[in-house]
Structures are given as C-alpha cells and as structure tokens.
C-alpha cells in the first residue's frame, strides 16, 4: 500500500492571490500560517490547511468543496451575505446537518456545515 498518513493540505488555485488572501484570512477569519511561502499562502482551519496559489491562465474553479464547520449555519451565512458573499441556493437541512454552498471570489467551492444529529444516529 502507499501508506497515506494524512492530508497535508488542499491546494486551491485562484486567479488573484491578494484578493484570495483577504477572503480566506479576513472575510472568513481563517488563521494564516505565518511560516508559509509568500507565493503559496496557507490558511489553517484547525485540521486542514488550505494552500493557495495563483494561476491566471487555464483557470477552472475547484469543485472539491471544503465543508467548514460553524456553530450556526444560518447565522454565519447571514453575516457573510452582509459583506457580499454570494451563496448558491437555500441552506439545506439534510435531516442530520445544515449545509450552505458558497464560493471564494474565484468560485472555488466551499460550504458552511453543521451536523446536529449524533453520528450513527
């Protein structure tokens, strides 16, 4: 076996690095990794590093949606919409969790998520 030990990061390609840094770091409030290379800024969600890099040509948005846990999806969505973040569709209640789909300024897929049902229940 290849011995996958862990997930080191998810690499998210963006078209405008400064705009993305502002979005992840300030709009979403995700802690930046101060040791990351300037051209590859990283944001620490706690258990996953989001690594950004810029590519202007041949850009296509990520559909590997990162589900970010918040204590209250509706409250977080309302706050983000108040500063212009666009969400796709209504917040879903799947019966075990709430999920709201949105994207970064380049359309890379993100979600606000909160599971309220016990796992296995």
């Amino acid at each position: 076996m290849i011995d996958v030990e862990r997930t080191d990061f998810v690499s998210v390609i963006v078209r405008d690095l400064e705009r993305a840094k502002t979005f992840y770091g300030e709009t979403l409030g995700i802690r930046p990794n101060t040791k990351a290379h300037a051209s590859y800024p990283e944001f620490e969600t706690g258990n996953l590093t989001i690594s950004l890099r810029a590519e202007a040509d041949h850009f296509t948005p990520s559909r590997t949606a990162i589900a970010l846990r918040v204590p209250d999806v509706d409250a977080a969505r309302t706050k983000l919409e108040s500063v212009g973040v666009a969400f796709a569709g209504e917040t879903f209640d799947t019966g075990v969790c709430h999920v709201a789909f949105f994207g970064d300024p380049d359309g890379n897929a993100l979600m606000l998520h909160n599971r309220y049902a016990l796992v296995g229940g």
Binding site: I2, R6, D8, F9, S11, V119
Partner: protein, 132 residues
C-alpha cells in the same frame, strides 16, 4: 460596525466533498487503490488523517457533474516516488513528472472521475524549526 472574520466562527473542516459520476467506482478507488480508511458509518466516506473525504453524485441531487481540476487533495506519503510507482502499476493516471520544489516532492494524479489529487511529502523543515 467593523467586519471581523472571527465572527463567522469557522471551527474546523468537517469534510471535503468529492464529486463523482459513479460512487461505487470512486469508493473502490479511495478505499482499495489508495487504501484510505473507510468510515464506519458510511461506505462513501474515507479518512486521510483527520480529514474525511465524502463522495457524492451531483446528478442524484439534480446538479451537473464536472470534475474538479483544482482543489488538489494532497495526501502525505512517506515516499512519493514509491507511491507513484505503485499507483501507476494499478493504472492510475498521473499528470506530468514528479517535481521537487526544493522543500517537498509533489506528484499530481486523478481519481476515476478526473478529480485532481496529489501525492506530497515535505522533506524540509519550516524556517525557524530545527530539522527533525
């Protein structure tokens, strides 16, 4: 009132969603070909360390499937070259040569749905850290 991103209260990443046109085929890939630990409650969820990858079929939710040619999930392996050789032997598609960035090795590949993935191993310590 001044905006504070801290008010969004993002606590962690609950999972990363992997879009697929064939969840069974994807589950076999992540579980058997890559050897990821399967979640005890779902046959379509796999763990790589602390991260859960959740396979889903957009078409079953009335949405269009498109592969993710971005958002590479970087799997840490002890030896990128050896892991690449093993996966290529199993027919996995790699894109380009493995590259050495000067601090890490990276090899880009795809799952059966064409979603971009990566084998990764950082061998250099972050500046300011002592070498392990």
């Amino acid at each position: 009132m001044r905006w504070s991103g801290a008010d969004v209260q993002i606590e962690k990443t609950d999972f990363v969603a992997i879009p697929s046109q064939d969840a069974e085929r994807a589950a076999a890939f992540y579980g058997e070909t890559l050897g990821l630990r399967s979640d005890e409650h779902s046959q379509y969820e796999f763990w790589a360390g602390d991260i859960c990858l959740g396979i889903w079929e957009p078409a079953k939710m009335g949405m269009e499937f498109q592969p993710s040619k971005n958002g590479h999930v970087a799997f840490h392996v002890p030896d990128v070259a050896a892991a690449r050789e093993e996966l290529e032997g199993k027919g996995v598609t790699f894109n380009g040569e493995t590259f050495d960035t000067g601090v890490c090795h990276m090899a880009l590949f795809e799952d059966p749905d064409g979603n971009d993935l990566m084998l990764h191993n950082r061998y250099a310590p972050y500046s300011g850290d002592s070498a392990a």
